[in-house]
Symmetry: C2
Subunit: 522 residues, 2 copies
């Protein structure tokens, strides 16, 4: 793979000077046309020590318009980053549509490092590379252009450069502790890099290996490759019609063959008021305790509430939040995205609000909107919502690996009960804001929603993040069910001493950290 | 001040039940009308231990529509917060226009704590309270409604409550280590609180002291006070015409009396190519070294580049960034704000990007747009840009206190030189994107800009963040001037051992922290 990077390719000073002006013009032109599109460009810069990755970044800063261009390095971690799933920092750095981000190392830095220092086996690395492929595919399907550069040097050239760098007063400062080592182990590093590149060199996001012995050759090659990549995307803005995706199985048309999970729910389960009051007090106290225990254990919780309109999401959420110390939780009611959010993958806005270790976030509606309202109303294309199941499972898997307890509730009521509640809302002044034209429209689509919910519950119920379907015709019953489930799931998670170790075994998975030292509170 | 909170006020269960529905309806109605306005609402919740601040927050969550409502607690610090000026965390939590944020303690928590634990003298607290007044005024002038509640209990009642809480299994978890202490020292705590309230109880942002012995009285009082505050703001959406603000002095009309700082610059200073090359190499190496030294010392740098069009900002910036390791700096080119940014005070977007300790941010245009283009083009009202000088000075003072090195450059060229450069840009294909209709329009306003620049340089040149006016007809001379200044200012700041201590003396000022442990870099 790296042989082609040891051919001694170079470019004369005259040729370089002659080429650069038209290249810059073309790059700026491409960048400016890009701004009007839905495409974002992610440029990954990686390679061996001494190849001049920093120089390339400076060059890109010079040749491109810095408006709409961001550079991100991932060489140290803030604790806000370590207290969240690993990919949170990358989501943070993703460019919006029409913009370009240059990522130093990006998601390749850690796998390379970990393998090089023997912290991961090949098998563990492979697992991580599968995630990377999935992540890049997700970005690309959402319209991103991912351009990955690997800068390489022959062994002798690298030795020479590192020696020069070490002698040079200016560069001495650049030399962080471990740099020298890499050159000592050139061939072992090369072997690891090749393996990683091979496994992530896909048709939709290929690696460009650039020989870096000659700086002019290197920079021209980067500029032209980038230009071609952007231009060809501008010519073919749409990723092309996807092959029809098989989604739910096709069912025989008899009613019995069409039974859904929802149909199986006994919606009329009830509880008496007194029994409710007794149990509610117990559960409230238990939840309060578990929330503090989870805080102390550094485990965070994400609770998702979905359900048909008027099913009682708000009431259930309030029974939970009023049990928990207000310092520990945050409620997010999902409304229309802002323009920054719209300029990114639809999961971006949810990554944004992932809680830090120890904290609880409660979502009133969630990322499942993609496969519910967006599907039913046609706001998302079939290709978009069909791939969302996989994207969502990937998202929740990462949360789980990071020790986040993921709780998902679907609240269901019968059509008759819904009608009664809609009418009651119209009659109660402080509930009128809760009932809109849209609610009545959604009601007409009852069957479409039922199908969508059924498919969602089947395809995204996972061992670590199962759906809890809650019968809701009796509000009190539903609230207790929710509270019981939350307490039970927290108990299970907190008992998971062994599970904890499991979370930490794979070399990439980050240990759950305790929250920062507690402060005195007035 | 707290006598009125010890009257034993209460409300019967019946009265409460009777009042709540119409109160909720009115609150929801007010909240929904609020959404269409430019007003944001900041609710501050403070008070003595045991008064039920958490219960009030839960109540607000119940009574208000959770869409457009956020709750933020400030009881622990993340390192991303401690590595930035103290108010960064509050800026992060400010609601957008039309939205409501409930802040637990907010900016009052630390002053109270610090004084109570004897870490601050009264004089030091007073300094902080002046900052709080300034901060609240700034928010209010920008359209925010700030509603501050203080919840209070008589001594005996507090003792009783804390005892109950300590006995109660559920609440035991709520009790963080130091809570008991506060009740032991009721009167000393009350004295401190009274002093702090007195100094921050201003006409535009008054404190509401609420007796909290009776929960129903407390919650009704909060709900009604909040309702009245929002409603009265909705009736008078504009803060009212400000009295004409005296800005620059009125000058005699002779030309000599109108001389500006810009006129005093010798724009034609030049340097020979060879001498430039020699000095440039030296300065580049020096800057590289200083950037790493600043990183190691945990000092961050914010560099602002402003100047007339075509004065050479981009070129000067590139000479700086190409000298610095790309992992240490970030360039921000200020463009049109996003809708989230537009929904906040104009400084919000700059607070957002304040670098962490040790890092460098370079701004191509900056917060000075407010007193330059926004003033000249009329995008900001006179009241807005006139108060901006003070707001900007306050912002930079906070940066300075946090150890940020603030560097501000104004690049100036003559009208003739500008014309020549505009023409050259039109003739060079890869520079054409840099020249727009707007540039020609700005040129027609040369004199307006000169006046604005002069006033800006006079009013915002401070000891810790002076303006550096750079003659730019010779690009090379300007670039060297900038580089020299950066190196000198970094040297001065890094030599500031004594200055460092000074930064850390006032009890509120946070010590500069070192960056997180360095990682190995591939």
């Amino acid at each position: 793979m790296f042989e082609a990077a040891k051919l001694g390719r170079k470019v004369s000073k005259e040729f370089f000077k002659e080429q650069v002006p038209s290249l810059r013009t073309a790059l700026l032109d491409a960048q400016s046309r890009l701004k009007a599109t839905r495409t974002s460009v992610v440029i990954l810069i990686a390679g061996i020590e001494g190849a001049g990755k920093g120089e390339v970044v400076n060059r890109l800063n010079e040749w491109l318009d810095t408006r709409g261009l961001q550079v991100h390095a991932f060489w140290d971690h803030s604790d806000e980053e370590t207290a969240r799933p690993r990919y949170w920092r990358f989501w943070r750095a993703l460019p919006g549509r029409g913009e370009i981000a240059v990522l130093f190392g990006g998601w390749y830095l850690e796998p390379i490092e970990h393998r090089f220092h023997g912290r991961c086996s090949d098998a563990e690395i492979d697992e991580e590379l599968a995630r990377i492929r999935q992540f890049e595919r997700m970005l690309i399907e959402d319209g991103a252009l991912v351009v990955k550069f690997w800068f390489h040097l022959p062994e002798a050239e690298q030795k020479k450069r590192l020696k020069e760098l070490a002698r040079d007063d200016r560069s001495r400062w650049k030399m962080l502790p471990n740099k020298a080592k890499f050159s000592e182990q050139y061939s072992s590093f090369e072997q690891i890099a090749e393996r990683i590149l091979r496994h992530t060199d896909t048709g939709i996001s290929p690696w460009y290996v650039i020989e870096s012995s000659d700086r002019r050759y290197r920079d021209l090659a980067v500029g032209q490759t980038l230009l071609r990549a952007i231009e060809s995307r501008l010519e073919h803005p749409e990723p092309g019609p996807s092959a029809p995706i098989s989604t739910a199985p096709s069912l025989p048309t008899t009613p019995e063959a069409q039974v859904t999970l929802i149909d199986r729910l006994d919606l009329d389960r009830r509880i008496e008021t007194e029994e409710y009051e007794r149990q509610y007090r117990q559960l409230r106290d238990a939840l309060n305790e578990r929330a503090w225990a989870a805080y102390k254990a550094g485990r965070s919780t994400m609770m998702v509430f979905e359900g048909v309109d008027a099913a009682g999401k708000g009431g259930a959420i309030r029974r939970i939040t009023s049990a928990i110390d207000a310092r520990l939780y945050r409620t997010i009611t999902v409304a229309a995205p802002t323009d920054e959010e719209r300029a990114h993958h639809y999961l971006w806005r949810f990554w944004r609000h992932v809680p830090r270790h120890g904290y609880i976030t409660v979502y009133d509606r969630s990322w499942y909107g993609r496969v519910l309202v967006e599907r039913v109303e046609g706001f998302a294309s079939p290709a978009e919502w069909q791939r969302a199941y996989n994207e969502i499972n990937g998202f929740e898997e990462q949360l789980h690996e990071n020790g986040v307890i993921v709780l998902k509730f679907w609240l269901q009521i019968s059509p008759d009960e819904q009608l009664a509640r809609f009418k009651a809302r119209e009659d109660t002044p402080y509930k009128q804001h809760k009932i809109t034209e849209e609610d009545w429209r959604n009601r007409d689509r009852w069957d479409d929603y039922k199908l969508a919910v059924n498919e969602m519950a089947i395809r995204t119920s996972t061992e670590y993040a199962p759906w809890h379907l809650v019968p809701g015709n009796d509000k009190r019953y539903a609230r207790l069910e929710v509270l019981k489930t939350v307490v039970r799931r927290l108990d299970e998670a907190l008992a998971e001493k062994a599970g904890h170790v499991a979370l930490g075994t794979a070399c990439h998975r980050r240990r759950v950290t305790r929250p920062a030292a507690k402060r005195e509170v007035t």
